[in-house]
């Protein structure tokens, strides 16, 4: 370790959010000092890391002081009282702008808060700022951002992963207590893996998408990005539950996982899909999965081998469904009601206004996916691409259902590699292939979590490696309890990471 600033993520405090929350509630510390500490780290590191696009320092400190005043007065504190939380910039907030890291929305101010943000605020959380992302959540590296690339706090010559790049980097960099991201094909879990934090993609329909800027409507989910599994449980408890404003939310009560997450599962059956242990994985990645399996065995769990033969086909399925849905969702950006509008020359018509506004407003990757989706939905190609992908989607779901008859959770890598360097996947298809282990979770609508499980050493730097657990739809209780068992066994709490440095 040569430079502590580059290699000591979470150097502000080794505590997770639950511990910080308890410390505020018992008067051991104040919300204001926690918030001020994280703002100081942000001021010091954000210029380099570029996690935040906007930071609401005054707002955050004021909100923290209100919590402290409630605590002093002995009033009961809500579950996230005073916790500074970072919000991915595709989630609508009335504070600041909601830009999706795109020129298209560079000045967009939301007239409402997303349901998830509303629920976090209701639980006492402090909206600390908006985080940078791959434009419109299309990317796996954090490089395609109008506001400049985001850097990995563990090694600033490498990407933090994406698309929830800034949220992952802010949590890993000690700039906030926790964050929310969105996950359409791995956008929470892959950056969580690259940055050494916990990232949960809940079951489709668990958390309202009201206020989440739509990308792939049948795939998108908001989820927590945290320092520990119990923090993820706590945030899911706060954000989940039916919402009248999103008809796709599941008609189920909010989860209560913070109560059960510490309870190990007796007789847990962990399935390792044979297709996940590919030779294409980096050695350390496969080793981390084996070490996790050993840890489970030592805890009395049974390890079984399962088959998911369509694993590789997931990328193809995803890159039909997601662009098709995106091309439709992004049709709303027309330069008329909101968003970027091009300047026309005299005599130019409305068509030119639409097309020029869109091409000036969207970056190349977004335009690529819109064209891909438009092509696949166009006359003569719909059945060959879109309908076929939806049929494969059902087969993928059936494979998961079959696998879950033999096991409770699936274990495997989150990504085939640790964080890669800037520009390493400049070919779009190569970038897409990085998502091989995460896209099928969204395609089937089930839940998955990435937790830190080791390191790979590259050029003298320690790069985090995550392993992914998946469970069937609405099995987050099982998923997070199994994740907590592993987290405890591997001692990969954030404190242990710092200790290891």
């Amino acid at each position: 370790m040569t430079s502590p600033t580059h290699t000591t993520p979470v150097h502000n405090t080794p505590s997770d959010m639950t511990a910080l929350r308890d410390a505020v509630a018992t008067g051991t510390t104040t919300a204001e000092s926690i918030c001020a500490g994280m703002l100081a780290v942000t001021a010091e590191r954000n210029t380099e890391i570029n996690a935040f696009h906007e930071v609401f320092a005054e707002h955050a400190l004021e909100a923290a002081r209100r919590v402290d005043s409630d605590a002093r007065a002995g009033r009961p504190l809500p579950p996230l009282a005073g916790m500074p939380i970072a919000i991915k910039d595709n989630v609508a907030t009335t504070l600041g702008r909601t830009t999706c890291s795109s020129r298209m929305l560079e000045n967009y101010r939301s007239p409402f808060d997303a349901t998830a943000v509303e629920r976090l605020a209701h639980a006492g959380a402090v909206v600390m700022g908006k985080t940078n992302m791959d434009e419109f959540a299309m990317g796996s590296s954090g490089e395609h951002c109008k506001w400049g690339p985001v850097r990995n706090p563990w090694d600033s010559t490498r990407v933090p992963g994406g698309s929830s790049a800034g949220s992952a980097a802010a949590v890993a960099g000690g700039m906030c207590a926790a964050a929310i991201g969105s996950d359409t094909g791995g956008s929470i879990r892959q950056p969580a893996s690259f940055c050494g934090i916990v990232g949960l993609k809940p079951t489709y329909g668990r958390i309202s998408r009201w206020g989440l800027v739509a990308f792939g409507s049948s795939l998108d989910q908001i989820g927590p990005m945290t320092r520990s599994v119990r923090d993820a449980a706590l945030m899911l408890d706060v954000m989940s539950g039916i919402d009248e404003r999103d008809s796709t939310t599941a008609d189920r009560p909010p989860t209560e996982l913070a109560k059960t997450v510490e309870r190990p599962i007796e007789g847990l059956r962990v399935g390792i899909p044979r297709q996940y242990m590919s030779d294409a994985n980096d050695t350390e990645v496969s080793a981390a999965v084996h070490a996790a399996a050993d840890a489970y065995r030592a805890l009395g769990a049974t390890i079984v081998s399962v088959e998911l033969p369509l694993t590789d086909v997931g990328i193809s399925t995803y890159y039909v469904i997601a662009p098709a849905e995106a091309s439709s969702n992004l049709a709303r950006y027309d330069g008329i009601r909101y968003g970027h509008r091009a300047q026309l020359q005299p005599g130019e018509d409305l068509f030119t206004l639409y097309a020029r506004s869109r091409s000036e407003g969207f970056g190349p990757e977004v335009q690529r996916r819109i064209m891909l989706g438009t092509y696949m939905l166009s006359s003569g190609y719909y059945d060959a691409y879109y309908k076929r992908a939806l049929q494969v989607r059902r087969r993928i779901k059936q494979e998961f259902d079959q696998a879950f008859t033999a096991c409770d959770v699936l274990l495997g890598p989150t990504a085939p590699t640790p964080a890669f360097g800037f520009g390493a996947n400049s070919d779009p298809l190569a970038m897409y292939l990085c998502d091989v282990y995460t896209v099928n979770t969204n395609i089937a609508g089930i839940c998955g979590v990435s937790i830190p499980a080791g390191f790979a050493e590259r050029n003298g730097k320690h790069l985090p490696i995550g392993v992914q657990l998946q469970a069937n739809a609405f099995e987050e209780d099982r998923l997070l309890r199994a994740a907590r068992m592993l987290e405890r066994a591997l001692a990969t709490t954030t404190g242990a990471h710092v200790a290891r440095m």
Binding site: R109, S218, D349, P428
Partner: protein, 107 residues
């Protein structure tokens, strides 16, 4: 409807890319069409692996849970105010969104 999308993929032409850009309301500079064609052809070539999956008798699945539409109670609720709707508009005239002339003279 092509029987085999492979052949169409291999044949993806710059004219098709230009047509798709037009359908998608994108103004792609002529100098960039070939670059997009190459990239899109590579992705479509990869996606052709879907053809190898046996899908006999498999129904398409558009949504994870195939849930039925949930109807809200038929009670009026307050929508966004005109001010809130217009606050992000790139051009406004009074209470209206301003757009370039849509109809030509004599239409």
């Amino acid at each position: 409807m092509p029987d085999n999308p492979h052949s169409k993929t291999a044949a993806l032409t710059t004219a098709q890319v230009a047509h798709v850009a037009k359908l998608a309301r994108l103004e792609v500079a002529p100098g960039r069409i070939e670059e997009y064609r190459t990239q899109l052809a590579a992705v479509l070539g990869h996606i052709a692996q879907l053809d190898a999956v046996d899908l006999a008798g498999v129904e398409p699945m558009a949504h994870p849970f195939e849930s039925h539409n949930r109807l809200a109670a038929d009670i009026p609720v307050e929508g966004l105010s005109i001010e809130a709707v217009l606050m992000n508009a790139p051009a406004v005239e009074g209470r209206f969104l301003a757009v370039p002339k849509v109809l030509a003279e004599g239409d």
